[in-house]
Symmetry: C2
Subunit: 406 residues, 2 copies
């Protein structure tokens, strides 16, 4: 079902990172659902998490652990979100961390827990504890593709990417995986994403850089406007590459690293939308010449969230009136409807608020039938701009979400 996206088959290893998967039988049968990512000593971790006030137990614990210790391991499960589970949920997450910490001979605070799946059910600590040694037996630097499969829930394809870039002093590798296809409207990060690099970069700068690239990637996506309780994104820099440590933004190596990292994150963010629940289209909404960037984002998100725009996209129906109606209800500081221009995949639909003289329904139909759709709204007011990536709203979305627990 994913739009222009296949299962990944190859991801490059990252020096200093090993991954192991196992089947704990948490929710799914006959597939791996637990993952351990282990980083060599000296690795630096950065993380961003959901802004949802009902943060899941693992998010609470991971946030805390990141503050107090040098993390070494991520312990991830699919099938159970450990959210809405109160203080017992936090204890359960800690108990699992403790089992892994003991096996590895490290502090419990050096383990970060991550969960994704159904909300409101107790974490099966016993099943998970038994699976932890199995994960550890399979640890390998080549475990990335298996890991991408292990963390899937309603995802239809395993998603990830590797990028290599030459810095002064050595070539670095960036490899990342991501899962998520519903409850997607990240307010800070996306569901679960783990990215590792052998680059060597100062810790605070790593965190800042992660926040920057998340703002331009995951935070520009929306499937259904629902922000998850479990969104977590971790970036690990093992420092195994031989280049000189990157200490600040003001040097070429930083720019090369940041550019490559952003490319990886944009790929992962777009992959989520291409694999959005029930998606049949990959839609980019560009709003340009708005009064401000904030206005542009508000306009793009309002269009992206409109169920009527999304069903028209599903139907390949050039029903531009719905785009207009969504734009008209967006909370913008300024808009002049007599100035608005609208194009779909390069075909001009509206010029200065009116149907363009050259526009025909046939042209609209032709471009709306494509899989990749770019809707561009030109407000002709200022210099604000924004892009949002979204999907359409299909029967399959309803089926998936009406049947998710049955």
């Amino acid at each position: 079902m994913a739009v222009g996206l296949k299962n990944i088959t190859m991801l490059e290893k990252v020096a200093g990172i090993k991954l192991g998967s196992a089947a704990a039988g948490i929710r799914y049968q006959d597939r791996d659902d637990m993952l351990i990512i282990l980083a060599d000593k000296g690795s630096r971790f950065a993380g961003v998490f959901t802004q949802n006030k009902f943060s899941a137990a693992p998010v609470v614990i991971s946030r805390k652990h990141l503050q107090v210790a040098e993390p070494r391991a991520c312990l991830v499960n699919a099938g159970n979100a450990n959210a809405g589970t109160g203080s017992q949920g936090e204890q359960d997450a800690l108990d699992c961390c403790q089992v892994l910490a003991q096996k590895l001979g490290i502090n419990v605070e050096s383990v970060l827990p991550f969960s994704t799946g159904v909300i409101g059910e107790a974490l099966p600590v016993n099943k998970m504890s038994k699976a932890i040694p199995v994960c550890l037996e399979t640890m390998s630097a080549d475990g990335w593709v298996s890991a991408a499969h292990t963390i899937m829930t309603t995802d239809t394809v395993a998603k990830g990417i590797t990028s290599k870039v030459k810095l002064n002093g050595g070539e670095i590798t960036i490899t990342g995986i991501v899962k998520g296809s519903g409850m997607i409207c990240p307010d800070m990060a996306t569901l679960l994403s783990f990215v590792a690099t052998d680059a060597c970069i100062e810790k605070a700068l790593l965190q800042e850089t992660l926040e920057d690239v998340v703002a331009e990637s995951f935070n520009r996506t929306t499937v259904d406007g629902d922000t998850s309780t479990n969104d977590s994104c971790i970036l690990i820099a093992t420092g195994k590459c031989n280049h000189k440590e990157i200490m600040n933004r003001d040097n070429e190596n930083y720019m090369l690293f940041q550019k490559a990292l952003k490319k990886v994150f944009i790929h992962l963010a777009q992959a989520i939308i291409r694999d959005a629940e029930g998606a049949t289209k990959f839609v980019t909404i560009n709003v340009i010449n708005a009064a401000s960037d904030i206005d542009a984002t508000e306009a793009a998100k309002t269009i992206a969230h409109s169920p009527l725009v999304k069903t028209a996209l599903f139907a390949s129906d050039p029903n531009w009136g719905r785009i207009l109606a969504a734009l008209g209800r967006a909370h913008l500081s300024d808009m002049d409807i007599q100035k608005v221009n609208l194009s779909i995949n390069g075909v001009t639909v509206l010029s200065k608020g009116q149907v363009d003289d050259a526009y025909t329904e046939e042209q609209g139909q032709a471009v709306m039938s494509q899989q990749d759709i770019i809707i561009e709204v030109d407000l002709a007011l200022g210099s604000g701009s924004s892009s949002i990536w979204t999907s359409d709203l299909s029967h399959e979305y309803i089926r998936i979400n009406a049947e998710y627990r049955s």
Copy 2:
């Protein structure tokens, strides 16, 4: 399909009001699609309209005419919204008003136009002009039920209500009709609603009263978060009843009138939700003890707009985690997740942020299987409260909106 709602079969006439319908063949075959509502001289009109910046041509004209003249007639068509049609659309609406004005021997400004249907297509002025005399031939005080049918688009039942109330000096009648089942998230009024009464009330007070009752009825509904370009609601007071004119809020007759009017508007607003596109449930979301009424409304609307909550409702799935996740992303000034209580149709699900000890999945399943669902969220913080009425999100919603133009 409507949830607990049947076609109306009887509406009481209102002294001073006549209605006539005809088939203009605008979009539908073999059914009436044009309506004229005529009020006796001396009647007072009040109106509220969409806040969508892309207001349709008839909304622009009706707003203007209400300012400059004493209205006498509403000219309504279904099947074409005359929205996104620019200056030509306004001229088309005016031309139709002119045809009716001439036939009636009144000023064009005394005619208010209303359109509902597809956005972005030119109004068929010729067809409509030919249908106007046919409408006039059928004018009758008993035309309310036909009128309710005439203005339907994707509605599955004709919606309306009559209320009678004894004032000091005479009994008044309030009769209202409404259409609308998608693109429903009124920011001021709903799609099209026409309510008439023979009460005698001062004009400015009539307008204020309309705005008050709309705020507590139509503005509390949402189907899909999409505010229409054409929402219009008209209240006509013919003054034919013999009671003394109501001049201010400070008397018993005003309170009796306002109470009856509010009841009528709440019925009409709820009828829209019961007939929402694809609805299988009628859902009330009550948020109580919020930090403020504004917070309560934001929380209720965020839950009501969540596609994941809506698909869970469709599936009769007591997936309360989705309600929590929606609440957690609402933009509230204050919330303490340790205090939140949640109940569904009286069954306590969460107590102080944790699953209630007595709650069982079977109980949740039983109440979620009902047609009428009340979700109550108690934030245990302050005295703010709000209620929102909404529907679920079903396959039928997708089908209707993906196929609407085909």
